[in-house]
Point group: C2
Chain length 193, copies 2
């Protein structure tokens, strides 16, 4: 975390992923920590906030989540594009130093039993809501968001403010083959939130 | 549909929503047609392509999907921002002329038993995979994509090409309170797809 990380009220936490950014998923179990990328992260409910994430059976992070019941969804920035792609295309099972190679720096928080990735734009700590059929049949995991933080340079008063910050802090939207889009222009219908 | 609508191979269909755009969901049953907006649409599988969509119990479109087992996910453009917001904040149950007020123009395709919305950037025809527990407990619906099309001005050869087209054809990412982001700058790691 850094000096800009600010707590986001739970009722606004869905807004951190509502625009569909590509995410990083981190977890820890039995002393093993890992981080993977996931393009398929999505809001599921507002209050309490819930989200879905699709995690393939080959992912080491998946077994960590199944063991600990805890994970963190974080929103990486344009500055982390290479790290994000690396984490989505390499597996800890075959590359024990994956995190170092990707350039990941982790930090911990007292009430979160999963590692968090430094330099992201937002962090959502989640507890797994076990749904064995979804997990087995669809690789689909459901989490309840238990706490959330965002970088105050880009998220203030419940809204993203990317237009006030350097482009390197924009969130990412993955397509395929190493191509991403950055989050773009703010378009506002001027309706009260 | 229009002169630019081009068939997208099913194995590339996930790319139409992989970047997390806000979507329109359309369906038809017993002669009733409706369209709603949904920010919570997400990829679920590659082959056959599947997706998830969260649809509240108050949505009229939900009952149409439950009756017909068919729906279309479409990717609206920046030019359709007001239409998109209107469709997400008004219900056919209370406003029988909702679609006209929103400015929606529908079209049909022979093999799709749901209406499609003119002017979008992409269309994914889906058949519902019934999962009663997910639908009741989480408002979560799973669809298998049976056919897909995209506007060739913005999607070519399996990739979005927003940067080659007017900004009005960019896809949208909803935050809250009438605020959207357009899909932004293309960032490419130059890896073969």
């Amino acid at each position: 975390m850094n000096e800009y990380a600010t707590r986001v009220p739970l009722e606004k936490a869905y807004r951190l992923i509502n625009h569909g950014p590509t995410a990083l998923v981190s977890a820890r179990a039995n002393g093993v920590e890992n981080v993977m990328s996931a393009a398929w992260v999505c809001g599921l409910d507002f209050q309490p906030p819930k989200l879905t994430v699709v995690i393939d059976k080959i992912a080491k992070t998946r077994s960590l989540i199944e063991q600990s019941g805890v994970f963190v969804i974080q929103v990486p920035t344009a500055a982390q594009i290479a790290l994000t792609h690396y984490l989505g295309t390499h597996t800890l099972a075959q590359e024990p130093d994956k995190l170092q190679r990707a350039g990941v720096e982790l930090f911990s928080l007292p009430d979160v039993d999963a590692p968090l990735v430094t330099g992201c734009a937002a962090w959502l700590a989640c507890r797994l809501i076990p749904e064995p059929h979804n997990q087995q049949q669809y690789d689909l995991f459901i989490g309840e968001v238990t706490a959330a933080w965002a970088d105050s340079r880009v998220f203030q008063d419940g809204h993203w403010r990317f237009e006030q910050a350097p482009a390197s802090l924009r969130s990412l939207h993955y397509v395929a083959g190493g191509q991403f889009y950055a989050t773009g222009e703010s378009l506002n219908l001027n309706i009260d939130s």
